[in-house]
Symmetry: C2
Subunit: 583 residues, 2 copies
């Protein structure tokens, strides 16, 4: 028996109890005569006290051997503290230790096990098991666990059934790159690791399972950005006999449940916005709707006044920043610098100040007099005290740049509050995206997404104009989930493969088993998948998904702790019928 | 809106309601004038009725087009049935349909979608999505889901935290063969898929997580037997600051909870038996304790009477089958044939009948008179009416054969009741197993298992005699789980690697990151893992784990449905820096 209590549960009611606790030494304070030790475990910190004189000399000598992160077991009586710590649940008591057992020693850890550690990212990655001891990382793991169990219990309560789909599956080159696994028993052949359980969940619908979900590991062999991992986790869901509306309502329920149960936040409703409007008003299909500052198109108002920049631009579009008319020259210069950054990409910024005294002045006074500028204020519905910020250029690029500027202004004005959560459904996505390089259409969501029924005829002549029954869940400007109603008709699926440039044999080779299944009574169905790592980071309030993964990989796909991937033996390669051939 | 109700919920209270349901056609009965259709979904079966005359001719013509497994949507009024079916919840009503929508057609399925299907195993594997429609398979999936969610909620309630560990890990050749994954970004290097999260869960203990679990996919590239799959699922658990007793008690709680909640079976207590006793009394470390018939060793009783078979045997051991003294010659011959089968492996069977008239006769009357045989009855504690069955030969082989005979007798006497569940902990396993072929010790559990503290000194001189703090959970003769207290001392772990024949560099190369972690305060810890597929099959009452896996693979590791594994393109191979080299 290593402990009678954890380090998080003793309080004033336990005074005089004889207890044993075990844990790690967080801190030792030796004040000469008195020694205090903060003992830490998963549940909290409890103070141990040793007093020269009343504690035996032998024990004091043992205590003097101790160091940070030693694992010890301590037995003694709970006493009331003289100097209480109101910040922790155990802060009113301490344990007067009479028996001490060193369970394991520790070398000095390479960084401090504190919320604000002195360890750099690389060092913490190498010693991830020490990084995981830090309270912030532990909270992240606990949050992840809580989100998973609440997700499961909610979906279970509305009759979803979790079904595990295989990890060793058929490789289908469409989409991102597959990780592959050589099969020893089938020489020269390979499994792939799933990029998602898409085919399997559709087969489960054909099999009649009606409401499926799975919290499932997925794999993509992509070049990694900061927020991507080669393996990641999805909440993967699919339903039968549903239309888009049924799916949105069902998962609105899930999202509300998670916010209520995990963060005690009430989400009143999830507004919907079309893809077209999201682009028009926010310049992004991931709009942060915690604040307004919607885009206003100015083409009609500003063109034809001799200002070449506007006259030549495909679009002139701006936002109105309330209460910013008194921005200094330095501040407007900063904004100009911001939009000119390569990752934002605008060529310049025009501003109009609507002063509190009702006067107007702008960076384009030469071309637009006060009367003209008045028209701008009408378009922006601006009020005295506002600052109008305007960009001009090619439509897509300018929208993207203005989107960045809007978010920057949101940050500056404190409008992107971390404790406010505003989910929104983005709907009516285009079915296809044209790729200039390969001169072909790609599926915007994936090849199994259903076009809107009223658009099916357009597939032949104008596929680019076809809208899909596809939807994304966006929260605070972050895409948290996405899904679609699926094609369940064999002929339509065939047509879709044609539009995507598959030859019949290719489609048959890659997706024959799914096409075959469509012959035997496929029901109407659709689904959604949520990025679970991303959801955790949104709930946790930090940007990086890596913080919410116990053992993440770095940007080269390496686990720095175990130094993996690694070489394998010639014998292993031989058994697998492969050899290495470096390019 | 595809439905107002499912096919499982309408009953007599819904009479006169107007409803819409959707589903698959299970059966059509056309009695001329009246047509009945059984419509099936995940929730049940509801009867639809069409009556020539009162149903429109147009609708009747549509109904005549329908076939088995068509997906339809039907709207009509609920009416009370004349001929009720008390066997199903919807059996008192039917729907008089006035509106019918064919959602999808179906070709004639290649086998019947019935509990007793006419489809062979291979055909059902190829069309697994149709096999999954069968009620028995659906029940298996639902059972699996229920077991998973009850496991999670129980472990959550006692403060376990589910933490996901990586799937792309470092290859460690000790143990079974790894599946490996070439890394494109790290040319010439490979990830492995985890055989278990063993290292990671130990690191989580070192990280202070205290009570970890995960329902997790694991992978082993073994030659497959009927009940093995290349990927399988474990309930993987680990705890810190525990001794063996704490772990046994904790998971006794889980097992009782699962039986209570999922099967409404009360498990009163889990007895414990040592490995040595399990072998002595049952000839197996997986004893089926639903019935007695324990082994009785007869060496002292039977040797030295001139019967060479016994005199030369390492062991003479038998069981007493109560009430079988009147077995016919045919029956005892059958038993003899049974024990002589190659997979049982005995060379013959000796029996003694303790007749109800108190007389004794045996197959070795020549060597043992009634007085001698009386001694046997005493050893067996046999009663009149019993049949004693005795085997002789080399100890291990004979124990194994008698174990099979005992189970056979259990089957014949109906003592292995499918609705009785008798879990037992098998404890005190040997730490090591000697392998004659490679002339070295192997870890019986794995290299991280702790020897019993009082046996540590034996590691140097008599490693074979060291017992481990290792335990298995066995239910009805099936190993459901196993685990151990782990080594948490770096020096002891080093010694263990030595005993297992690792050179220092090998140990460092493979497990360096774990050994390193031991330097920084590893707590005492231990854990257990349960075979989740096996647990499902035990609860479901069938032998094959494949029935409980949505998309299983066959004995060659192939998914017959998607025909995977498969060839991949030259471009893929090139990107991965590998090429195929068939032996």
């Amino acid at each position: 028996m290593y402990r009678t209590h954890t380090c998080g549960e003793l309080n004033i009611k336990n005074v005089n109890d004889r207890v044993t606790i075990s844990g790690w030494i967080q801190r030792i304070r030796d004040k000469g005569g008195m020694i205090w030790i903060d003992l830490r475990d998963r549940y909290g910190i409890t103070q141990l006290v040793f007093e020269e004189g009343s504690t035996s000399t032998e024990l004091i000598l043992k205590v003097k051997e101790l160091g940070r992160e030693f694992v010890i077991q301590a037995t003694g009586n709970v006493i009331e503290r003289i100097s209480k710590n109101p910040n922790i649940p155990t802060g009113e008591i301490e344990i007067k230790v009479d028996t001490l057992n060193i369970l394991n020693k520790s070398e000095l850890p390479p960084f401090t096990i504190e919320d604000n550690t002195d360890g750099g990212e690389e060092l913490r990655a190498k010693y991830r098991y020490l990084d995981l001891r830090r309270n912030v990382v532990k909270k992240a793991m606990e949050l992840r666990h809580r989100l998973a169990i609440e997700t499961r219990n909610y979906l279970d309560s509305i009759h979803f059934i979790e079904i595990e789909t295989p990890c060793l599956i058929r490789s289908t080159p469409e989409g991102a790159r597959d990780f592959v696994v050589p099969s020893r028993m089938n020489p020269g052949e390979f499994y792939a690791l799933p990029q998602s359980p898409q085919n399997f969940k559709q087969l489960l619908m054909i099999a009649g399972y009606d409401k499926y979900y799975q919290i499932v590991r997925c794999f993509r062999d992509e070049d990694l950005r900061a927020d991507r991992q080669p393996e990641f986790t999805q909440i993967d869901c699919e339903m039968s006999f549903v239309e888009q509306e049924d799916i949105l309502n069902t998962f609105e329920g899930l999202i509300k449940h998670l916010f209520k149960r995990v963060k005690d936040v009430e989400i009143s409703s999830l507004p919907r916005i079309t893809f077209a409007d999201a682009m028009k008003y926010y310049g992004s299909d991931k709009p942060d709707i915690r604040f307004g500052m919607k885009f206003v198109e100015l083409n009609e108002v500003v063109k034809g006044k001799g200002f070449k920049v506007f006259d030549d631009a495909e679009t002139v579009v701006g936002i109105c920043a309330a209460g910013c008319s008194e921005y200094s020259r330095k501040q407007t210069d900063e904004l100009t610098e911001f939009v000119k950054k390569p990752q934002v990409g605008a060529s310049g910024l025009i501003y109009v100040k609507y002063n509190t005294d009702d006067t107007l002045n702008s960076s384009v006074d030469k071309f637009y007099n006060e009367e003209e500028l008045k028209k701008w204020t009408t378009a922006f519905e601006a009020k005295p005290g506002d600052l109008m910020l305007v960009l001009a250029g090619p439509k897509e690029k300018t929208q993207k740049a203005l989107c960045e500027l809007r978010l920057e202004m949101g940050n500056r004005l404190g409008l992107r509050k971390p404790d406010v959560f505003m989910p929104v459904w983005v709907v009516d996505f285009p079915l296809l995206e044209w790729d200039e390089e390969t001169k072909r259409y790609y599926a915007k969501h994936h090849p199994f997404t259903a076009p809107k029924p009223e658009h099916i005829l357009l597939l032949d002549n104008n596929p680019g104009s076809v809208h899909a029954n596809a939807y994304d869940l966006v929260i605070n400007g972050v895409e948290i989930g996405g899904g679609s109603i699926r094609i369940f008709d064999r002929d339509l699926q065939k047509k879709m493969f044609h539009v995507l440039g598959f030859r019949d044999e290719e489609a048959e080779h890659q997706f024959g088993f799914l096409m075959n299944a469509f012959k035997f009574g496929a029901p109407p169905h659709g689904g959604i998948a949520f990025g679970f790592d991303r959801l955790c980071s949104l709930f946790g309030g930090t940007e990086s998904i890596r913080d919410y993964i116990a053992f993440p990989k770095n940007n080269s796909g390496r686990d720095m702790m175990s130094d993996s991937p690694s070489k394998i033996s010639e014998a292993q390669l031989k058994e697998l019928n492969i050899q290495i051939k470096l390019q």
